[in-house]
Each structure stands twice: as C-alpha cells, then as structure tokens.
Symmetry: C2
Subunit: 282 residues, 2 copies
C-alpha cells in the first residue's frame, strides 16, 4: 500500500513511524514544503522517499494530511482534485468544521474523511515524532456519513492496525467540545506562562521555585504558534466562549478569596476534584 | 537521631521514607491526629512508632512539621514550647510569612527554621508518600538569619543527606514569588476543571476528547482542598494579585481572538514560548 503523508512533523511523522513499526507492506511517500524537515524525515525513517505535493498525492492509495489547519483546508480540496479514483484522503487536524465545509461541494467528497487524533506533545517537527504517539489513543471521525463506505473502511482499518480507538462525532459538536477540552488548556497555559514571565523578570526565581505543578500547567505554553494560531482562528467562536467561561470561574474564585470565604473556596475545590473520577472514566 | 514527623501525609511521609532509605541511625516517631492515617503510616514503614503530639515532639532531636499551613502556625509555637533545649523544629509548608510571624516573639525562635520543599503531587495522605519525592528537589529556607547556627546546620545537614538543593529567601519574597509560580498554577487548574465540568455535563465527551494536554493542565485540580484552602487564605493578597494579572492576560488574548488578530496571537505565543528556555535554566 502506498501512503502519502503531507506534513512530516509530530503527527504526520508519528503516524508514519507507527505504521512502519508494524512491518506491513507500507510504502510511505513524504511531502513537506520545509526542505530541512523533509530531509530530517527521510533520515529518521519517517518516509521511504520524498516527493512534491502533486507527485506524491496523485500516486497513493491513502493520503494523510498533517499540516497546520489553515493549510489543511486548501490541501484537502487540492488532494481530492488529483487523487486516484479509489484513493482516500484524511486529515489529522484539531478543528473539523472548516475543513468539512471546504470539501462539502467537492464532487469527490465521498473520498475524504475528517479525523482528529487525541494525541500530541508540546514539541513539533520530524524530530518530535515517535512510533508510540498514536497507538492506544482515541481518534475522532467527523461527519463520516458523508464519506463513502469503502473509503471509511480503508481508513478505519489502518487506524485499527495502529490500535487507535475510533469514535464518531459531528464536526460542529467536535469543535465545540474540543474548544473546552483541548484548545482552552492551551490558552490557560499560554496565559499562565505570560503572567509569570511578566512578573518574574528576574528569571532566577522561576527556575528556583518552579516545581512539577508549574511545569505541568505551563507545558503547553511551549507549543508551536505556527500550528496553534490557525486552530484558534478556525475555532474562534467556540474558543472565545470557553475563555469567557474560564474568566468567569477565575473571577468567582478571586471573589471568594478577596472576601476571605474559605468555606466557598473549599467547596469549589471539592466539587472540582470530581475531575479525577471523570478522567478515569469511573 | 530521634526525629518526630508531625503530619504523615505526602510530604511528611516522603521526608521520612527518604531519610529511612539512607539506612542511617534515624528513629522516626510519627504524629497524626487522623488515626487511620497514623496506622497506615506505621504499616508503610513511614514511622517506627506512633505518639501523641506532646509526647512525640518533646523527646526528639528534630521535629518536622508537615500538616496543612493553618495547623503549622499553631504547631510551630506549640513545638517550641516543649522541645528539648538543643532540638530544632522546621516546617514544610507552602506559605512562610504567617508561620514566621507566629514564632517571631517566641523566646526560642532560634530553634525554628521555616522551609518549603519545591516538591509534591496532586495526591495526599500516607499512601501518596514515596522515598524519591524529595531527593534532587529544591528546598527554600526563609529568614534563616533568625535561626541559631547550630539549629540551621543540623537541618541543612539532614537536607543535604536527602540530596536536596538548598536556597535562601526572605519569607515575604518567598510568598510573593510562590503565588505566581505555584499557587496560581493550582487556581488555573481548578478553574479549568470547573469550566469543563460545568460545560460538559455529559461527561462522556470529556473522557473521549481529553488528551495529555488537558490531563496535564487539569492535574492540580485533583489536589486536596483541606491542604489548599489554608494556603490560599494565608497568601491571599499575593494570590489575588496573581489571579488579577492572569485574568488580564486571558482578557488580552480573548480580545486578539475576537478581533481575529492572528498576528497578535502568534506574537503572544512566540514570546511566551520563552518559558521553555527559562525552565531549562538556559
């Protein structure tokens, strides 16, 4: 099977490495407009060979799009224009409504599948990729009723070989929920990093006093602006609502603190402790 | 050496386990008003024997106070009242101004040392304790010029045996910086958890869509309200300022988002990426 991976960074690279670790009959053609990244990907065994976008996409059975979400929207349509008749295109982007809208009226819409793997790290580029990133993780397929059965089956088959857990969701619902459960986390982390960097101009205090708690809450503030700016732009309304609700919670907590209402703070924390149970799926 | 550990939870328990792992001549007397925790601590090898507060504190060379910070303030004075003449008392609390104020006029102030280890997890109680928590971590000693040299030396000697890295800081400066670098992280995390729990009443979406990013930013929202309420109360003014600054950063980001200012969002994230370098101490 010939697979074209467009975007050889953390996600595209990890998808390819995960698949190649299965030792199946997969030939990966890598596409990346960053020549340095493309060369690294070849060296790291992410791709068997490199090609330009048209050359790579037009000759493969499966096309995986793993670029920033503003590029994805253009590449999804461009891929459908040139793929082989029985080929399938799917993306790994963090927003799903705009890409689905972009291909909605394409005559070959049935050969496209919108997908979002719930996996990542704060690092980016081919060197951040690793074979273990995707296996065992959730992947959400959106609006899959608009995808031909044969195309859907071939993608799901690949994902299951990678031991990913498949869930389905409408793209609009996906974007609303993911604004709260992922995009807001990134903004809370960037804002925390900005607050501390602004206050602690003598960085030595950060270095001395930062423990695992700060590390953990600020980790996502190391994420790539090139990747996240278009995500925030594409999911603007949902994220704006989520930040607004988050600010309300912080203001409510500040009010409890300022009025020295220890009982209210205790109750707020006790109720929020429920997140432990929810994340375990109890 | 006889060491009395008051509060046999995550920190007190880990201090004791770390010390006992050195196989030195340490006899640990454990004190905990929670009888279930006290029994667990004995079973887990955290303490050699159990005692009441007065009985334990009055017979030891070193007294370590590791209870919530509202109890610490009372126990610090109460310990100084009853320790042996050459004994030393130190605490492991996350706030330092109030405990230093509480012992300021005690005739035996010189036998007390205020300490804050930069270490912890979101778990609590004796079962959360482990010998590896403290070794290699930073510990901040506050207002140490008010501690007798002999008392200071005996604590620093113990901390160095545990391979902790010792730093010094005035208690007021400690409380201001730690509000930003630790306490704010906890509040950002609790507010995030509360926002998502409020929105996602169908918890299934959290479970399906929560990845490592959400896990990491919300981890501290599992922390103990019994421990954190008094910390927030004792460091109220610094924390209130920190939350205020954090809300300002979030509002600024929301403004960039609402006005679709991708360039500003990109710059904000790019600048905040500097936290990666700062945390590495580069």
């Amino acid at each position: 099977m010939k697979i074209c991976v467009v975007g050889l960074g953390l996600l595209g690279g990890s998808f390819s490495l995960g698949l190649r670790a299965l030792n199946g009959d997969y030939h990966v053609i890598g596409v990346d407009k960053d020549e340095e990244h493309a060369r690294q990907a070849l060296d790291l065994g992410i791709a068997d060979e490199l090609a330009g976008f048209e050359e790579g996409v037009s000759q493969c059975d499966v096309v995986v799009l793993a670029t920033p979400v503003d590029e994805l929207v253009k590449q999804a349509r461009a891929s459908l224009d040139i793929i082989r008749e029985d080929a399938v295109v799917f993306d790994l982007g963090s927003t799903k409504s705009q890409i689905c809208a972009a291909v909605a009226d394409h005559p070959r819409r049935g050969r496209f599948l919108a997908a979002h793997p719930i996996a990542g790290t704060e690092d980016s580029g081919p060197r951040a990729a690793f074979a273990e990133l995707l296996p065992g993780k959730m992947i959400i397929l959106c609006d899959h009723d608009l995808t031909d059965n044969s195309a859907l089956e071939s993608v799901v088959d690949l994902l299951q070989k990678l031991e990913m857990r498949v869930e389905h969701m409408p793209s609009a619902a996906h974007d609303m929920h993911i604004a709260y459960v992922s995009h807001l986390s990134h903004i809370s982390s960037f804002a925390l990093g900005a607050t501390v960097l602004e206050k602690e101009k003598n960085e030595n205090n950060i270095f001395i006093m930062a423990g695992s708690g700060f590390d953990s809450t600020v980790r996502l503030a190391k994420s790539s602006p090139d990747m996240w700016t278009p995500i925030f732009e594409q999911n603007r309304e949902n994220i704006s609502e989520a930040i607004g609700k988050y600010i309300e919670q912080l203001q409510a907590f500040k009010q409890m603190l300022d009025s020295d209402n220890g009982k209210a703070m205790h109750r707020f924390m006790k109720e929020t402790n429920d997140i432990r149970r929810v994340l375990k799926g109890d």
